[in-house]
């Protein structure tokens, strides 16, 4: 593994991001297969860019994207008007898992959140991913909440 570098994604990164989102046993089936990018992805990316802070953070190694997560900053009234960071869709390329890329990517996201003045970082993880839960606890996260989803 070459050293990791980080950057926020641009529209040209859509194909590799969709590939990474689909490269997952539990939720990969929800994404598109094949080389043509659904226009919905480009539309969603454009909408992300219209928010004050809603970015895809990429980890690269040797010029190749090997990890991605979505990082969103949400101002709110709770906790005396604290801004919180929400992390969604953490993915590491399946062929390079187990090399610390996920941990480094989360660490970088936490640093970005701190620098922006967030007081809290939060995420949810499917109950079918016990290894991910151990991973987040080791990174210092409190497994303090139940996560609920309602599909519309």
């Amino acid at each position: 593994m070459s050293e990791l570098s980080y950057r926020f994604a641009e529209e040209a990164d859509l194909p590799v991001m969709v590939e990474l989102l689909a490269d997952d046993d539990i939720s990969g089936h929800r994404e598109q297969n094949g080389s043509q990018i659904l226009p919905e992805y480009a539309k969603a990316f454009a909408e992300m860019m219209r928010m004050p802070f809603n970015h895809m953070l990429l980890a690269e190694s040797g010029g190749e994207v090997v990890g991605v997560l979505q990082l969103v900053f949400i101002p709110g009234l709770s906790r005396r008007g604290a801004m919180r960071a929400i992390i969604e869709g953490v993915r590491v390329k399946s062929t390079v898992r187990g090399h610390g890329i996920g941990s480094a990517l989360i660490g970088r996201a936490v640093d970005e959140a701190k620098r922006a003045g967030c007081k809290l970082v939060q995420l949810t993880s499917d109950k079918r991913r016990p290894r991910a839960h151990l991973f987040y606890r080791r990174l210092g996260f409190q497994q303090s909440h139940e996560g609920f989803k309602l599909e519309l």
Copy 2:
């Protein structure tokens, strides 16, 4: 109980919203006590208003605010570019709990999310609130995830 009505909060609603946030056994201590509103709350509210959709939804009964929640719409790439709604800080005035206000308020938030084209509504609930978990399951939410928080 008079019939409920709903509206999105304005800045003038800050005192009653902070009072509701503080009216909670588990997380109320994180909020300010007393009648002077911390400038942080007004600043956070102004930042919320700068997002495409980040609102406090209020339930009123007989001209009085009896419930509040934060409703945020987040575009993202996952699930073929699905927009998701995030609900935070659900509070019902302690003197009128058990009258279905929370349920009605969540129902209204879900309707707003549907109307805006969201494919998913998600929230987390502290593991110390088993009655809230039953409440969300009864409203059709899947308790499918673990919720992690990291305080910065």
